[in-house]
């Protein structure tokens, strides 16, 4: 029984991690139809922002929850201005350019900080579930994932900015009709997506360690989650991370970490073969 609860908790942590690392990518993809292959490096930059400001003496929570998203959001604004904006509507070129950015960020950060694993310990202690112990930080991640997804949903659903965002998502001309320039909406969407990615990077850093190449571990997972989810960014990301996270974690328990990941990837392929438009292409089509 204890084991079942411990495993369930681990599954939830797996889902939460997947959700957290995918959300920024999903916002950018959902709003702009831009696949940001520098997403992994946004995560990495968020982790570095957190670790550096924590080392500079800032409170660890402030560093993770405030500094990381702000810093990466600012980088996102610059990236949008300098690169993305010039390539709107050219999905493929945008992918390639962001890939170039990804390599560039890895190179630049390696030059500045070296390719050494840094990291900080998970704040919060451990929790006991019967005879089992689990990291309290895992619970925190689950909570953070819930807050994040609820927050994004509430913003989209209840605020004027959310209305404009939903309108642009449906139809870019509509935003123009509402008197907002789509390019402004896109710029904000990209910055928000980047900020979410930065936050995600800081959140996973205590688990993953901080290296310039840490993004490459996550980008493929995030990419697959978002695409498997399909067009509706919240429902899609939620359903895809729920499914894939469960498969990966249970697979890991049953076999090895590698086979767990292979199982997850195989499920993604089968799913895309059956639902070529992603999960929300078929179900929850009208959700956000």
């Amino acid at each position: 029984m204890d084991l079942a609860v411990a495993v369930a908790l681990q599954v939830l942590t797996g889902i939460a991690t997947l959700l957290i690392i995918s959300l920024g990518l999903a916002v950018i993809f959902g709003m702009m139809r831009v696949i940001n292959l520098a997403h992994g490096e946004f995560l990495m930059l968020g982790a570095y922002a957190a670790i550096l400001s924590a080392r500079a003496g800032l409170n660890i929570w402030l560093a993770m929850l405030v500094v990381a998203p702000l810093a990466v959001g600012a980088i996102g604004v610059a990236v949008e201005r300098l690169v993305i904006r010039r390539l709107y509507g050219r999905m493929l070129d945008t992918m390639l350019a962001t890939w170039g950015l990804s390599l560039g960020f890895i190179g630049a950060v390696t030059m500045i900080f070296g390719n050494t694993v840094a990291g900080f310990s998970a704040p919060l202690g451990s929790v006991a579930i019967g005879g089992y112990r689990s990291s309290g930080y895992g619970l925190f991640l689950i909570g953070a994932a819930c807050v994040l997804i609820a927050g994004v949903w509430a913003v989209l659903r209840f605020t004027p900015a959310g209305l404009i965002a939903r309108g642009t998502m449906q139809n870019p001309e509509m935003a123009a009709a509402l008197g907002v320039s789509p390019s402004r909406v896109y710029a904000i969407a990209f910055a928000v997506g980047a900020a979410l990615s930065g936050l995600a990077g800081a959140l996973i850093a205590p688990f993953s360690g901080v290296v310039p190449t840490m993004g490459t571990v996550y980008i493929a997972k995030a990419f697959i989650t978002v695409i498997t989810g399909g067009a509706a960014m919240l429902a899609g990301t939620l359903s895809a991370s729920g499914l894939l996270g469960t498969v990966a974690t249970l697979g890991t328990f049953a076999t090895t970490p590698v086979l767990g990941e292979v199982a997850m990837l195989a499920v993604a392929i089968v799913l895309l073969r059956l639902l070529p438009e992603g999960i929300t292409g078929r179900f929850f089509r009208r959700s956000l």
């Binding site: 070296g114 840490m214 890991t252 970490p257």
Partner: protein
């Protein structure tokens, strides 16, 4: 600032080596080329950087003492960036372009097995100065680190005596981890213990959550880790975060080989037991003298010498230099023959003797416990022979051998 440290480190290596070379070059002597191939970047740099520092130091020391056979030694360092393909590229370059007298390097067994055949093919002498899983049988290749019959053989009985007989093994998923885990199993069974499970993790795995739950479910007396590289450090971190440190003790065949003890906080690292053929903390006059000189030369850039990898590189280079002196030449076969007579080095880790039958070494083994970013030495086992490789390899009888035997461990 990390940036400064990194560039100083590389810059310093060059600065240490260069003046000596130039001095001697002015005398008109041709330098002897020595190539070092160690990861100065990438996930394995935690091992590579101290190894490079030690090799730089050893070369500088030799040149300051007048070089070798009246010639200066020129060290060429390559950084394969933790990328196996670059290892093969640099090994080929060392052999065919630099025509090096000897190549020191390789950290993981994977990198060794990538470059060893190349150096064998191009007849370039090779020194592998890392603890590893044993079994390499190649006259061209000298392995100067400890092997399972030397370290696991001490570690496993110790943990079984101290904590209990049910062991859970977590290991890196490549030949080192695979073979080492077999040795752990063997010594565990030999001592009447049982293995709860063996889990393997690819080098890039960072999420150990499910693994930690599995370990808890198996309820072992002790966990023995053979995890490798930067990513795997998060295992120790997550282990501590889950509050497991106080519940199940841990030992490792690799912990401390790099900067693990430095990166982790004392709460995360303290108490983990490891066995190596060297710890910076061993209390001998030779070691003290070495450290003093080392720190005088490198100052604040001097890396922590953790487990044996860096020190073995220093010893390995000196063994080679002694072999050259004895041969009176850098001719490959002459040096090999000289080395095989049983060259001895009295260095910081104690006495090291080359075993001419296996081209491995007899050395002292130390057992220590991680304590506040360093180690506390608990036991010393003098002059341990490479018994594992000796079971399968006899280069006197079979001088043309060019392979790594996977020792058939009777589990």
């Amino acid at each position: 600032m990390p940036i400064a440290r990194r560039s100083i480190l590389t810059g310093l290596g060059a600065a240490l080596a260069m003046p000596a070379v130039m001095r001697h070059a002015a005398l008109g002597a041709d330098p002897i080329k020595v190539v070092g191939i160690h990861d100065a970047s990438g996930g394995l740099d935690i091992y590579g950087k101290p190894m490079i520092a030690c090799l730089d130091f050893a070369v500088a020391e030799l040149n300051d003492a007048g070089g070798l056979l009246g010639r200066p030694v020129q060290l060429i360092n390559y950084d394969p960036q933790s990328n196996i393909q670059l290892y093969t590229q640099f090994a080929t370059e060392a052999a065919t372009k630099d025509r090096a007298a000897v190549v020191h390097g390789g950290i993981t067994s994977a990198s060794r097995e990538a470059i060893r055949p190349i150096l064998h093919r191009y007849q370039t002498l090779y020194f592998y100065n890392t603890q590893y899983e044993g079994g390499v049988c190649d006259r061209n290749c000298f392995c100067t680190g400890s092997t399972p019959a030397q370290n696991v053989n001490k570690l496993v009985p110790y943990v079984m005596k101290t904590w209990g007989k049910k062991i859970y093994v977590v290991a890196a998923d490549y030949n080192y981890g695979q073979i080492t885990s077999k040795w752990i199993t063997k010594y565990c069974h030999d001592g009447g213990g049982s293995i709860a499970a063996v889990d393997f993790f690819p080098l890039d795995v960072t999420d150990f959550g499910p693994a930690i739950q599995k370990i808890q479910a198996a309820k072992p007396d002790v966990v023995v880790s053979a995890l490798v590289g930067g990513a795997h450090i998060s295992f120790y971190r997550q282990w501590a975060a889950a509050g497991m440190k106080s519940r199940i003790p841990m030992a490792s065949t690799t912990f401390g080989g790099g900067n693990e003890s430095l990166v982790l906080s004392p709460e995360e690292g303290n108490g983990i037991v490891a066995a190596f053929s060297y710890f910076q903390e061993i209390d001998t006059p030779e070691n003290k003298a070495f450290l003093q000189k080392f720190h005088a030369k490198l100052g604040s850039a001097a890396p922590y010498l953790g487990g044996e990898l860096a020190m073995r590189t220093y010893v390995g280079f000196n063994l080679w230099a002694e072999g050259v002196r004895k041969a009176g030449s850098i001719d490959r076969m002459k040096v090999i023959e000289a080395l095989e007579t049983g060259i001895t080095n009295e260095g910081p880790p104690g006495r090291t003797v080359i075993d001419g039958r296996t081209n491995h070494v007899t050395l002292n083994v130390y057992l220590a416990e991680c304590a506040d970013h360093g180690f506390k030495v608990l036991e010393t086992y003098p002059q341990q022979p490479p018994a594992d490789t000796a079971m399968v390899c006899n280069l006197v009888k079979d001088p043309n051998s060019n392979r790594q035997y996977v020792i058939d461990v009777k589990i």
